[in-house]
């Protein structure tokens, strides 16, 4: 609608809301990566010898690997020796016993982010494990969870307090040298979350982790491990933000999920890392390996992601459907604006009989952004009666952006049914006009239509996240149609 173009321009320049820097002392190692640094990290965290060995092995493998180039991404060369691999808030040395002892500035940071860390401010039923740069700062609701037998703590604590569980499951879904970024993470990961739901337990509340990259020149390499024992159930939320910086920052996380017989894990992410400015300067490189293993019969893993941030996103939350009758789901909204790039999707590996998977992917691309869906549906020979349904839709806003779809389907079983559908189109002018004729301003109309486009995914998110996701979408795309 030509009359509106001028104000549209202003609206697009809406600044990143979470771009503030917290000014506290950090205990950061000099940039660079070698076996000494890895040993330092491991010693600093008082890890057992086997874990140091595991890290070093991953590191030696990583040295032999090359950056992947197959994604539809234009990535500037990353100097892995220029990154600092450890950064912890100073106050960690005498770890806070309660929230009162937590650096007030840190709490202030969380409040600015809108994370209700203090218990009285908590949204009912949400336990937060907040990871600030590399170290888990405080975990709330620990006691209530402990009553239910649920272990929810930082990865470092888990290594100390539950070494058997960690040793049993760490790397069992994403092997140390699975891919370039996973190997890097395995070598240098500093913290993350650990969660164990015992047999038959339905986790009494949503678990949540909030990640934030703060120090400059640091990479964030957190590692999350969630194990749902037989017939247990857990819903896990993850949110991410990072302050505005001119240089790119690396985030290479690994998430492993294990669902045993009859267990169910729901993992939701709202990713809003700093995307860089409107000229594509700065922003997070988000190279993440997420994989869930439906190890037991009748297990279920569901990934829901809303990706609005990061300069570059490279992630494929996947499900290995090993158990018979197991179910894998992937619901994704990926929004790219300005110079953002995303290559994201999923892998559904059907190994067991009667396994089912659903993939719903909504890509929105505006301005100069490039947005690719890449997915693999693999039906192995023994996966009798496997079913997959995939729907991938892309919405384009502006004639400089790109939307790409690369679905791989590999089927080796004659009783399998795989359906893939994809569409790509411009945001509907007829729809916009209809809304505007009913008195709705263009910007709101765009919001309304885009939210409608993403509805199938949003409805998979827990309520608080769904609201946040809708807002984020609005902020990310304001005025992107002109």
């Amino acid at each position: 609608m030509s009359t509106n173009t001028e104000n549209v321009e202003d609206l697009v320049r809406k600044e990143y809301e979470h771009g503030f820097v917290t000014d506290i002392d950090t205990d950061t190692v000099p940039p660079g990566l070698n076996e000494d640094i890895i040993t330092f990290i491991s010693r600093k965290k008082e890890e057992p010898e086997w874990l140091l060995e595991w890290r070093l092995k991953a590191y030696r493998q990583w040295l032999k690997m090359e950056d992947p180039t197959w994604a539809h991404l234009d990535i500037e060369h990353i100097d892995y020796q220029a990154i600092s691999y450890y950064s912890a808030p100073k106050s960690k040395d005498d770890a806070p016993k309660s929230l009162d002892e937590v650096d007030p500035k840190l709490l202030e940071t969380y409040e600015k982010l809108g994370i209700p860390l203090q218990e009285q401010k908590m949204l009912a039923g949400v336990a937060v494990d907040a990871v600030f740069d590399s170290v888990s700062v405080a975990t709330t609701f620990k006691e209530k969870l402990a009553d239910a037998g649920v272990i929810f703590c930082s990865f470092s604590e888990a290594v100390k307090d539950h070494p058997d569980l960690v040793k049993k499951y760490l790397g069992s879904v994403v092997p140390a040298a699975d891919n370039f970024f996973a190997a890097l993470n395995s070598a240098v990961f500093t913290d993350g979350s650990f969660c164990y739901i015992p047999k038959g337990v339905r986790c009494p509340m949503e678990l949540s982790t909030y990640f934030r990259i703060n120090a400059s020149n640091t990479g964030q390499f957190e590692r999350t491990l969630i194990v749902a024992d037989e017939a247990s159930h857990v819903s896990y939320l993850e949110g991410c933000t990072a302050p505005m910086r001119d240089e790119n920052q690396l985030h290479a996380a690994v998430v492993e999920l294990v669902a045993l017989e009859d267990a169910e894990i729901k993992y939701s992410t709202v990713q809003n890392w700093y995307p860089g400015d409107e000229n594509g300067v700065g922003g997070i490189y988000n190279f993440v390996t997420k994989r869930g293993d439906c190890r037991g019969n009748n297990s279920r893993i569901s990934w829901t992601q809303v990706e609005t941030g990061s300069a570059i996103t490279w992630k494929y939350p996947s499900c290995i459907l090993k158990g018979n009758n197991s179910i894998g789901e992937f619901y994704s909204v990926a929004v790219t604006n300005n110079h953002q790039q995303a290559d994201t999707g999923t892998k559904m590996i059907h190994l067991g009989k009667n396994t089912r998977s659903t993939i719903i992917s909504k890509g929105i691309s505006a301005r100069h952004a490039q947005n690719a869906y890449r997915g693999l549906v693999k039906i192995s020979k023994n996966a009798d009666n496997a079913r997959n349904y995939t729907q991938c839709d892309s919405l384009l806003m502006g004639d400089q952006c790109g939307a790409h779809t690369f679905p791989y389907i590999e089927a080796k079983n004659s009783s399998a049914t795989v359906e893939h559908e994809a569409t790509t189109s411009k945001i509907g002018e007829d729809q916009l006009f209809y809304c505007m004729q009913r008195g709705i301003a263009e910007e709101d109309a765009v919001n309304m239509i885009v939210n409608g486009f993403c509805k199938e995914v949003f409805k998979e998110l827990p309520m608080e996240f769904a609201v946040e996701a809708q807002k984020l979408l609005g902020v990310t795309l304001e005025g992107a149609v002109g």
Binding site: S394, G398, T405, F406, E421, T424
Partner: protein, 440 residues
Amino acid sequence: MTTDIQNYLNDFDQLQTNDWFAKNRQSALNLFKETGFPNTRQENWKYTDVRPIARKSFSNINDQKTTVSPDNVNAIRFTDLDCIELVFINGIYSVEHSRINELPMNVVVENLADALATDNKLLEKHLSQYADNKISPFTALNTAFIQHGTYINVPDNVVIERPINLLFLSKENPSPFATHPRNLIIMGNHAQTTIIESYIGLDEANYFTNAVTEISLSENAILKHYKIQQESQRAYHIGNLNVMQNKDSKLESHSIALGGSLVRNDIHGQLADEGAEIIMNGLYMTNDKQHVDNHTRVDHLKPHTFSTENYRGVLNGNSRAVFNGKVVVHPQAQKIEAHQNNANLLLSDDAEIDTKPELEIYADDVKCSHGATVGQLDQDMLFYLRSRAIDEETARSLLTYAFADEVISKITLPEIKQRLEYLVVGQLPDAALIREFTNE
């Protein structure tokens, strides 16, 4: 890799002629020498391993005139179809069997080797312009060995009513041989014609066909192109079809793959001006240990261009099929429409399908869709037929036929349609019964 290509280098030295194209042959060979055969680490060849071809030492020199009796050829011809026909036996043009007659004024239809021997400016302008030697090593190899094949030039405003049938026959030879047929089709403004490429193995011959066809369509030209591939069960077939389409031109491509042990078909359409349209229909039916790979790519280079693709596969035995359909919408190519579909029927637990429909879109005002399915026969339909007293096996055959016929039924030339329907039914169990049902 060098050992794999040595026999090609040796044969090249023997065959290289001194015509105007010699330089191009040499540079294509050099390119092939550099790249060698493709491997499965390359995305374009991820699911197709060509080592069986690379390992074998084929002879590229087919000067010993293999003969085929007229009866043999007649058995293969579309006897009821009034057409212009060029026959090639083991890659060599056969004057004896070919029937080039009653051509409209100024239309050229001849053996490419003859055209190359003359000073032909038009040929120079078009030959090796649309098939990119850099994209496929097999195209480079074909270009290095360009000799026999077809050269067709349809001038402006000429409509050729009779279809042109290019019949490539292969027959057992003492030693395995490779042929590199090359076809060049130039269509002027508003020209219109139908071309059939048939690749047929006469016996269980062991050979490698490496065909390349280049097509240039000028403004408003319309070409219907059929490719019917019935190579022998031991044959390797690599085919590349490349088309450059001008304003308002239209290509309708039908590709039917039935034979061959290792088969790869590539179609590359370039919609280079507004109003250009490409329609691609395909059917592959595989059995035993066959491997059939179809790769298509359409480049929407200009606004208001259109592409539609519909490929279907029926897989049986230990066979494997690959489909990769790519649509690229280039920047500024607004108001385009691209629709693509690939459906597969897996009839056996040992068969495998790898399918990948791709969209790469750099413009915003587009309508694109693609879909891919892998599945079995519809249980409700099966039940319905059986409740109407049709035994299960027949019902299955009938429904399989119906699935494949979605593609065949789009063929407008009745003689070809009938022949293909006959061939498709022939691949199914209970063929005789199905014929009764479908011949009503």
